[in-house]
Amino acid sequence: MISAHFPVLVVVLPLIAAFTAFLAGWADRRYCYPIAAAAIAVQLAISLDILREVLAGGTVRYFLGNWPPPWGIEYVIDRLNAYVLVILLLLSLLCCIYSKRSIGREIDPEKTVGFYVVFLLLVAGVCGIAVTGDIFNLYVFLEISSIAAYTLVASGRRRKGLLAGFNYLIMGSVSAGFILLGIGHLYVATGTLNMADLARLLPALYDSTIIHTAFVFFIVGLSIKTAIFPLHIWLPDAYTQAPSAVSALISTVVSKMGVYATIRILFSVFTVGFIVDYLPIMEIFAWVAAFAIIAGSVLAIAQYDMKRMLAYSSVSQMGYIMLGIGIANSIAMTGGILHILNHALMKGCLFMVAGAIIYQTGLQNIDDFKGLAERTPCTCAIFFIAALSMIGIPPTVGFMSKWYLALGAVEAGQWIFVAVILASSLLNAVYFWRVFEYAYFRHADADLPAREKRELPATMLAPMIVLAAGCVLFFFFVSIPLAIIEPVVAALLGGA
């Protein structure tokens, strides 16, 4: 049965598609886009099937090369993997569709082939991370996706993108180096690379400084990748200077992958026994996250460039997820993991909107957005929905995250975190409302020459509408993701 091999096919398919797109692109560069879109669509279908199977029959394991773990590499897909995998692929597909026309203005036409090949490789990388049960394999795929991400950030026409890409590369490589060191230390201490095996062996070694060091390296490395507040410095430039489709992609897919990897390492390798019972790490984690939420929002308020503002907002939103994980009770974690989906929907949509505004009018500075709603009504309406969701106003998904996080914080008796969550939604309101006010309630300066206005192509509009609709629909049908998440949380915390 072919479906037994879906776990590996979901990773190999985009690889093969990438090689094929490279070959086909040499013949005609117009072939690349359909190959990429089709491959990701098939992947999405596969991932949905995997999700179905996981929901029905529990964890799926796949031994690569028929070697049993810990000797060979093992793929382990439980609900968390499947959930993240579906989100990643959905967003990848939408970004891919969106990129068809949006990159036309931002990337030289002869670079289209490379763009889609690297795009596919990035998708392959994140999928690899999402399904693997082997920490070194995780590192390899992390590197595939990272190198692809550096390249995509620098692929645009703006020269600042090059610098952003370079800084991203340096920070990313330091992070990868730290993760590699963490893996090395774990290997020294245990002699294995398999996550499940590690989780089994580690409890006996909790007192060893090697484990502590490995933990610190993992946390710092992953925090750089995820851009947790003081280590976020690469992020604003990278998100701002990248072509819009890439901003949408890395702000959702790549950052979510970092979050996923963090959760996986924390809860499936070190397990609750270490991070909650042995060391009070999660508490520190939560404080850092709370700080990130506030700092990210405050910095976002200070920005005038729309994409940059969204980038800082991402820093803050990553804090939400981490806070949920850091509070480490089941309700808050449900909120954190739910926010992986919610943030992907909202931020993907917002970056696409930013790209659409650039595409339609060439404007990127919020100060220039006066009267924008008259010129780009659809785009602005979509922005409005996604922004409401970011603020957390019902009926949008952002509210659900806020609800769970606040409830979790209340349950943990952490009133400061409650205050942080609630205050941050006010801060979010400040910077999103500014855009809204400019777009809807100001008239364009009369002395400005009427700029050209382009129609938004369907391939750009459709993904935005899908995401905005998702923002609203998942408020009403939040039970669907919750049905997946609640057992995940129970499983992650169950080790205690």
Partner: protein, 91 residues
């Protein structure tokens, strides 16, 4: 920047120097790294993979998928350089 660099270096250095005290000594045959997964590779590797060179055996067989990833990394780098640098031409 220099100050930050020094700070980072000192922190990382202190952490590592602190940690290395617990690492098994250099060349210790009792080290866990040598006694958990590795013995099977050494004892049965050649038999199971058909490669006398154990490194190749592990590389291309036990951990073959890592190697596929690795090759893909190289491929990615090639495309990346091409994407960044090449101008004109068909790609």
């Amino acid at each position: 920047m220099k100050k930050w660099a020094l700070f980072a270096v000192i922190v990382v250095g202190a952490l590592l120097l602190w940690a290395e005290g617990d690492i098994p000594p250099f060349g210790d045959p009792e080290a866990p790294a040598y006694n958990h997964v590795a013995p099977r590779y050494i004892e049965q590797g050649a038999e199971e993979t058909g490669s006398v060179n154990l490194v190749t055996g592990i590389l291309a067989d036990y951990r073959g998928f890592d190697t596929l990833g690795e090759t893909t990394v190289i491929f990615t780098a090639g495309i990346a350089v091409l994407l960044l640098l090449r101008r004109g031409g068909r790609l």
